[in-house]
């Protein structure tokens, strides 16, 4: 690799990580808009059930713990990446993937439960806002899962190249960001709803 390529790689790394940070901030505002909407609409139950009647705290707490653990395993993959340990990186991402999948499965379960009881997003303004906020987060998590699969293929094949290290950094930032968003969902939707 020539000097110009190395310099290019270095610059790309710094630009990409900074750019991805900026993207996360825009995503933060997107979620902020949905949170604001939820807060405006959360009392508009239109005669239907409210948050207290619908949500189960132990369930939401389990979801939270699963997601937080996945964030931890995601960080362990970073330590492995620093050591250049390809297999550990793949292993920790596999664990993260499974935890993420479990989270999505639980969320899906919760949603289908609500819909079957006749409390779908069509029921009231409150449920509309709830489904949209939580499902947008879920959609992000699903995107993250898809991204993990797409990224692990080149890592398995070619090892930890500078390009895949850069992308893994972005993916981890994405995953931690979604964790933080979930903390807010847990607090505002579930905890405050249970009060």
């Amino acid at each position: 690799m020539t000097a110009v390529h190395e310099k290019h790689l270095e610059e790309t790394y710094s630009k990409t990580v900074f750019g991805f940070w900026s993207y996360l901030m825009t995503d933060c505002i997107l979620f902020g808009t949905l949170f604001a909407t939820y807060l405006v609409l959360h009392n508009n139950t239109f005669g239907g059930p409210n948050a207290k009647e619908l949500f189960s705290m132990p369930f939401a707490l389990t979801e939270t713990l699963i997601l937080l653990t996945s964030s931890f395993t995601c960080t362990l993959s970073k330590l492995a990446a620093y050591r250049g340990d390809k297999n550990k990186v793949i292993a920790w991402f596999a664990v993260t993937f499974l935890l993420g999948l479990a989270f999505i499965a639980m969320e899906f379960n919760e949603f289908s439960h609500l819909v079957h009881e006749g409390n779908s997003w069509r029921r009231s303004g409150f449920l509309t806002a709830f489904f949209t906020l939580v499902a947008t987060h879920g959609l992000h998590i699903s995107t993250g899962l898809l991204w993990m699969i797409i990224l692990m293929i080149p890592v398995c094949r070619h090892g930890l190249t500078p390009v895949s290290l850069k992308r893994l950094t972005c993916l981890r930032m994405f995953w931690h960001f979604l964790d933080i968003v979930w903390i807010f969902i847990f607090t505002i939707v579930y905890l405050m709803g249970a009060l």
Binding site: T2, V4, K15, G19, T37, W121, R122, G125, T132, R167
Partner: protein
């Protein structure tokens, strides 16, 4: 299988005319390209190119075509208003009239306004900061195609189906499923959503470009003022466009999945939409106008042959406007009935914006003071801007007082106000900037005489078209009016306004003529020095048009007017022995960005017509294109130091 597309749609004469003229235009263009054997050139030089200079030109083309469309919309509306008085009901059905004003607003803001600021950013930002490219060249191309897809969907609505008739911000409950079950609102939703995502990505890209890629020595307070203004715009884009994405997303869910965000029943809240859309919409106004301020700051210094007066205060004024623009959105609906205190807060914040704007205006005038002012066409556009923008600003401050606003809310007074600011600032700045940077982009100057004709047509046309609207508004004429009573006595003023729009169209015709004539006479007007105006900033230090890599040697900067000080310290040309040439990596062409655009277009179209299986497939197409791009290796090609040295 074909969703709503299987329904039969009827067209009236005007839609047929629009459809056929577009068809004839397309056939003519395809024929011309085939005859001149230009397809390969178009593919290689533009469609697959990742060069921001080329992408900027494509933005220009789409924005200009959109401007023609928006101008035709305006002409048709004014013609209707001249004719439709008393007994006569004009030549347009009212639902068609509604589509016209909606299409006019949507086109002018999203596809002309945003198009021209992204065109200028692509063309000028890398050159002014001494960079060879933008941060993410591929993303830049994708953003352009998403923008073009949005513009394309609006045009398509002329022929297939109909456009929204709800006004350009699409207020619910009118835009909800109950009152607008047709495809019109969906056309609006998907064209704005897709173009909006393009704008957001572009905003990210240029934000990183300016923060990370300035040449050595260019600290923040040594950036050219145009770059500062663009940075302000980019911050606004990053903060405002996600709100638009989320808000349109919610409207989409209301319409597609029977949700109840903005429905009047089931606990929805239509006023929330109006709050959210203006929480994006007001910053959007400043997204458009800040780069305009930047352009004027550049040219007023160059053509006064003097350093910009009060650079630091200019920067702070920009920052203040950027900040304040986020806390004024409620002034768009004082009449909603928020508490008096809320109205007072937003009213005062709105008035406050006049302060930094006034600072800028005085700085420009002081820059001219005791300068050797050259009254070239760009300078004329600047002076026209000062005159019109002051009127627009004053009426804006007038309306920021909530009680006064109650009187003129939704009247033609408001229309006259925001056209004064948007045409006066954004459109004039664009023509000003285009005349100024034209030799840099294309390598030859524009014809001055025709430029002056165009300017005077626009200037007088503007005054004729919009001054009567102030009076009409005060007399009680509301906006979006397709019929009025003869006893109102408004018709003469509407006729004057229509004459003004015709004069503006003549001005635009002169500009088209100007480009054609200048192209034919390009041999006489070639810019061989790269610095035709005695410029002050880095873009004038390189040849016109610039090579692919912009700067053969990355400059080192130690002044705000970097190139000016280089010229005066005579450090512009180092002796060849001292120059260290280096290898340059530039991105290779790729068709993937255009392909993503194509899939997005198909996806948008299918979502509008509820052909969900194909929409899903197109989304998969977009994702596959992205994965292919991620897997690509060697996306750059190397230009060796020797080649660089040879070509300079």
């Amino acid at each position: 299988m074909l969703g709503r597309l299987s329904d039969v749609y009827k067209h009236d004469f005007i839609e047929y005319a629009a459809g056929y003229s577009m068809l004839i235009g397309a056939i003519f263009l395809i024929g011309y390209l085939t005859y001149k054997k230009k397809w390969k050139w178009l593919w290689k030089e533009y469609i697959t190119s990742l060069d921001p200079k080329k992408i900027g030109m494509m933005y220009l083309v789409v924005a200009m075509l959109s401007l023609v469309k928006g101008l035709v919309d305006a002409l048709m509306m004014r013609a209707q208003q001249v004719l439709s008085v008393g007994e006569s009901h004009g030549y347009l059905a009212s639902d068609h009239f509604q589509q016209l004003f909606t299409a006019h607003g949507t086109t002018m803001i999203f596809f002309v306004g945003m198009g021209i600021i992204f065109a200028l950013m692509n063309l000028i930002v890398p050159l002014q900061i001494g960079a060879r490219d933008v941060a993410f060249p591929f993303l830049n191309a994708v953003s352009f195609y998403l923008y073009a897809v949005g513009a394309g969907l609006v045009v398509l609505s002329l022929v297939v189906g109909e456009f929204s008739g709800t006004g350009w911000v699409c207020y619910p409950p009118l835009s909800g499923l109950a009152y607008n079950p047709g495809v019109g609102v969906d056309y609006w939703i998907w064209s704005v959503q897709i173009a909006g995502i393009g704008s957001l990505l572009s905003g990210l890209n240029f934000f990183v470009t300016i923060v990370k890629m300035r040449c050595p020595g260019m600290t923040l307070m040594k950036m050219p003022i145009f770059i500062w203004s663009v940075l302000g715009t980019l911050v606004l884009i990053l903060f405002a466009f996600p709100i638009l994405t989320a808000t349109i997303g919610m409207l989409t869910l209301d319409r597609y999945l029977d949700m109840h965000f903005f429905t009047p029943d089931f606990g929805g809240n239509p006023m929330m939409y109006i709050n959210l859309i203006w929480a994006w919409g007001h910053p959007e106004v400043y997204i458009l106008v800040l780069p305009a301020f930047g352009v004027f700051s550049e040219i007023v210094a160059v053509f006064s042959q003097k350093r910009l007066f009060g650079y630091v205060s200019m920067v702070w004024a920009l920052a203040a406007i950027t900040f304040l623009s986020f806390i004024v959105w409620l002034h768009h609906f004082f009449t909603m009935g928020a508490s008096a205190n809320a109205n007072a807060f937003f009213g005062i914040m709105t008035m406050l914006i006049a302060v930094p704007t006034g600072v800028k205006l005085f700085n420009w005038l002081f820059t001219m003071h005791r300068g050797r002012v050259l009254f070239t066409t760009p300078m004329l556009w600047f002076l026209g801007f000062v005159f019109i923008f002051v009127i627009g600003g004053m009426t804006g401050v007038l309306m920021s007082a909530a009680p006064a606003d109650y009187q003129v809310h939704n009247s033609l007074f408001l229309i006259a106000h925001f056209h004064s600011t948007i045409i006066g600032a954004v459109v004039f700045a664009f023509f000003c900037g285009l005349t100024y940077w034209f030799p840099k982009i294309f390598g030859y100057k524009l014809n001055e005489r025709l430029g002056r004709y165009a300017f005077w047509c626009w200037m007088i046309g503007f005054l004729l078209a919009f001054m009567p609207l102030y009076f009409l508004g005060l007399m009680g004429a509301t906006r979006r009016l397709d019929h009025y009573d003869a006893t109102t006595g408004w018709q003469p003023l509407f006729i004057v306004a229509a004459a003004g729009v015709i004069l503006i169209s003549i001005g635009f015709f002169f500009q088209v003529l100007q480009v054609i004539v200048s192209y034919r006479q390009r041999k006489e007007n070639l810019d061989t020095t790269g610095d035709p105006w005695n410029g002050r900033t880095l873009e004038w230090s390189i040849p016109s048009p610039p090579p692919e890599y912009n700067f053969a040697v990355i400059p080192h900067v130690h002044d705000i007017d970097a190139f000016w000080s280089m010229k005066h310290e005579r450090t512009k040309h180092k002796p060849p022995s001292e120059v260290i040439w280096e290898d340059i990596l530039m991105p290779k062409n790729t068709p993937l960005a255009a392909l993503i655009g194509g899939f997005s277009f198909l996806m948008g179209f299918c979502l509008i017509w509820h052909i969900m299986w194909l929409a899903g497939l197109s989304l998969a197409g977009v994702i596959i294109c992205m994965v292919i791009r991620l897997a690509e290796k060697n996306t750059e090609h190397l230009i060796s130091a020797k080649e660089v040295q040879r070509s300079t």
